[in-house]
């Protein structure tokens, strides 16, 4: 049924259709609306046979889900930002134990400085934890990916994160087609766990594993991810057949057939880039965009096939590995290893800095002239940075730079873009 609803609501309705049995909730902006909506649905008994548990921390949220999943219940939670760091130990643990938990990440920056706005630093910090990570481009896809995520998680016995841009998607009212219970039931079978805490068949789960076997256990996690490379496109195909629309898959190409310049991005940024690409196409530029939905497993072969005929690749990413540069770019460069395609990284949108078509077009035009550095920072206020560096040089006790920069900017108040106020 078509609805004009908030992204968080759409996600909650999709999760509800998946018949979750245990939902753990802890508030953190910007994912909170999702668990609020689910809590209400459980209380109104719109979701039947489901425990909604208000826990005391994100660490507990995922830990409760670990327990409920190990006891055979379909388990869900959601978090963001500091929350995923606070539960980091349990994130690795859930994957190591092979528990098919589904978790929404309302992508948000990580402090300090504290910042509630969108970027991808949070889920990227857990990219090697053994979870599958799927990034949603739109709210329709965010809803649809959750339905696929439970199926994927339970077929592989591997936890899945669905990454949804905080505020930009979670708080946006959009048109979303919410499927029927019958459609979802036909796609997502009952949860049949591969391991379960059962008093009739006692097993020990989570034993200590020494050097003689740890390596193999870890390799098997990699094997699951390799299997996911096959399963993710299959599930997306089946989804298209049953629901009549595209969602998920490893990657998607847009206007790439004859493209000389191909942009690579994740999440909601892709929509803005598509509009920028259309504008540039009209002006005669041969440019396209590849959207990576499955960041873990990283689809090296698919990315290579999509990019290898381009003259250049620009990776626009909302995350930043301090001290080296791009994170998505690393995977893209690995995918293109041995080819001669130059790959540029543009770090953009950190901490909610708006990524505008105007800036993107400027970036892509520079790329077409091969006038980019390997590592670029889109709309970074260089002058502000340089003034702060100079100030720090002048005095030893320069104080906190975040506050100094805010003071500097306040002095130039008119320069603040509206959305950043």
């Amino acid at each position: 049924m078509l609805k004009q609803i908030e992204g968080s609501r759409a996600i909650a309705e999709a999760v509800a259709l998946c018949r979750p049995e245990v939902i753990c909730a802890y508030p953190i902006t910007p994912q909170t609306h999702i668990v609020e909506a689910l809590g209400e649905m459980v209380k109104k008994e719109e979701i039947e046979h489901c425990e909604f548990i208000n826990v005391e921390s994100e660490f507990a949220a995922l830990s409760v889900a670990i327990g409920s999943s190990a006891a055979g219940a379909r388990s869900y939670t959601a978090t963001a930002s500091q929350g995923i760091l606070f539960m980091a130990e349990a994130v690795y643990n859930a994957a190591g134990l092979g528990l098919p938990i589904v978790m929404t990440i309302g992508n948000r920056a990580i402090g300090a400085p504290i910042n509630i706005w969108n970027d991808h630093s949070d889920s990227m910090s857990m990219r090697d934890a053994g979870w599958i990570q799927l990034f949603a481009e739109t709210n329709q896809e965010a809803a649809d990916l959750h339905i696929q995520a439970f199926r994927l998680a339970e077929e592989l016995s591997c936890p899945v994160m669905v990454c949804v841009d905080g505020f930009i998607l979670t708080h946006a009212y959009d048109r979303v087609d919410i499927p029927t219970q019958q459609q979802v039931d036909a796609y997502l079978p009952r949860f049949e766990p591969v391991q379960i805490l059962d008093v009739d068949e006692p097993v020990s789960i989570g034993a200590m594993v020494g050097p003689d076997a740890f390596f193999e256990v870890r390799y098997l996690q990699h094997h699951k991810q390799l299997m996911a490379l096959d399963l993710i496109p299959r599930l997306a195909d089946e989804f298209r057949q049953k629901f009549g629309r595209d969602a998920g898959g490893l990657i998607r190409s847009y206007r790439c057939d004859d493209a000389e310049t191909i942009v690579v991005a994740l999440g909601s940024l892709v929509g803005t880039i598509k509009d920028a690409v259309d504008g540039m196409r009209e002006a005669g530029h041969r440019i396209g965009v590849v959207s990576i939905c499955s960041f873990r497993p990283f689809p090296l072969a698919a990315v290579r096939a999509a990019l290898v005929r381009a003259k250049r690749v620009v990776v626009v990413e909302k995350c930043f590995a301090v001290g080296i540069g791009g994170i998505v770019s690393d995977g893209v460069r690995k995918a293109l290893a041995g080819s001669q395609v130059p790959t540029y990284t543009a770090i953009a949108g950190l901490g909610g800095r708006p990524v505008t078509q105007k800036s993107l077009v400027g970036l892509f035009e520079s790329a077409q002239g091969d006038a980019l550095e390997q590592l670029n920072f889109l709309d970074l206020k260089r002058d502000v940075v340089e003034r702060e560096i100079a100030r720090g040089r002048k005095q030893r006790r320069a104080g906190p730079s975040a506050e100094a920069i805010l003071r500097d900017l306040r002095a130039l108040r008119s320069g603040i873009p509206l959305g950043a106020a």
Binding site: V22, F59, S68, E89, V203, I205
Partner: protein
């Protein structure tokens, strides 16, 4: 199991001669039908109080539930010595997740059991004092305040033994640990620190809280049995000597545990809905010195010139417990 006063006890140990009782009056551990939930062959040290405590507690819980117990274990000695991959001593469904989340994982299992039916299974979470009073404290408090249907058992050996005897918030004052060495002007652990988790558990007004000791097997089993008959969040804090960490003889584990009780340093009591409802009255109080002397972690208090001031301060703690909990037999 009913409890009845038994008049025979062996000198020095008070241990009840089970064989002289009728079959259904015997302790679970003396019963041929005990489940050996934590089976033999594990890798605990000689004289390990925690291994004893865990077997007593889980076997009693198994008997109380018709063998329907799922256990969640925090990281720690109990977890490590019981499950060296690919072996396991656990005869029951058992899971270890992390050091600090046993209470939360158990809450999750309890939630799943409510939804899935669960064949009448009951959940126990267990951990050492570090996993309970320190790193797992947040999850423990959350489990308590939500009144999740979990019995949490803390096996308190008063330090981080698995990592090599470091101080925890359950380490008593003056005790030597690897991070409170017996050096300097105030050797051992600092006075005026630590926390009493049974009292904190009571402050959550959960339906059942108890302390127990491996020295008092029948009392321990009775408390576990009672706890398994109650729904909601329950907490049992069991004092379990550690020969390695305390520097005591493996053969003295029960004796030392008993001296902790009989000196008043480790009061045994039960609390229902936040109120103390029963306490174990001391029949023959002993000075704390008798308890301290058997442990090398307190050796710096004795020697050529005993530290009478510190010993007196520890005695004062015992005296306060006796007053606070009403331990002195009338």
């Amino acid at each position: 199991m009913t409890q009845q006063p038994v008049k025979f006890y062996q000198t020095g140990t008070f241990t009840v001669g089970n064989r002289l009782l009728p079959g259904d009056e015997r302790a679970v551990q003396a019963n041929m039908r005990r489940t050996n939930s934590l089976n033999s062959g594990h890798r605990a040290c000689q004289g390990c109080g925690e291994a004893l405590g865990a077997r007593y507690a889980i076997d009693a819980a198994m008997q109380a539930t018709g063998n329907r117990v799922i256990a969640i274990n925090a990281t720690g000695c109990l977890e490590v010595f019981s499950t060296p991959y690919p072996e396991t001593s656990w005869q029951i469904p058992w899971m270890h997740s992390l050091f600090g989340n046993a209470a939360a994982v158990a809450a999750g299992v309890a939630a799943a059991l409510r939804i899935k039916g669960g064949k009448g299974a009951k959940v126990i979470a267990q951990g050492g004092d570090g996993g309970t009073t320190d790193i797992g404290f947040g999850c423990l408090s959350g489990m308590f305040e939500r009144n999740d249907d979990v019995l949490y058992i803390c096996y308190d050996n008063e330090a981080y033994m698995n990592t090599g005897v470091q101080r925890s918030s359950a380490t008593p004052p003056a005790a030597r640990t690897a991070t409170t060495m017996s050096v300097g002007r105030h050797p051992g652990n600092v006075f005026g620190t630590g926390k009493n988790v049974p009292l904190i558990a009571m402050a959550h007004h959960i339906p059942y809280v108890a302390t127990a000791s491996v020295a008092n097997l029948r009392d321990l089993e009775a408390k576990v049995t009672r706890a398994m008959g109650v729904s909601g969040a329950r907490y049992i804090h069991i004092h379990v000597p550690c020969p390695l960490g305390w520097g005591s003889q493996p053969a003295d584990t029960i004796k030392i545990a008993r001296l902790a009780v009989e000196s008043g340093l480790f009061p045994l009591f039960e609390a229902v809905d936040g109120e103390v409802t029963a306490r174990y009255q001391l029949r023959r109080r002993v000075p704390v010195e008798d308890y301290l002397r058997l442990q090398r972690r307190f050796a710096h208090l004795f020697g050529a010139t005993p530290d009478t001031q510190t010993i007196a301060a520890i005695q004062a703690m015992a005296d306060r417990n006796v007053r606070t909990f009403g331990l002195e037999a009338a």
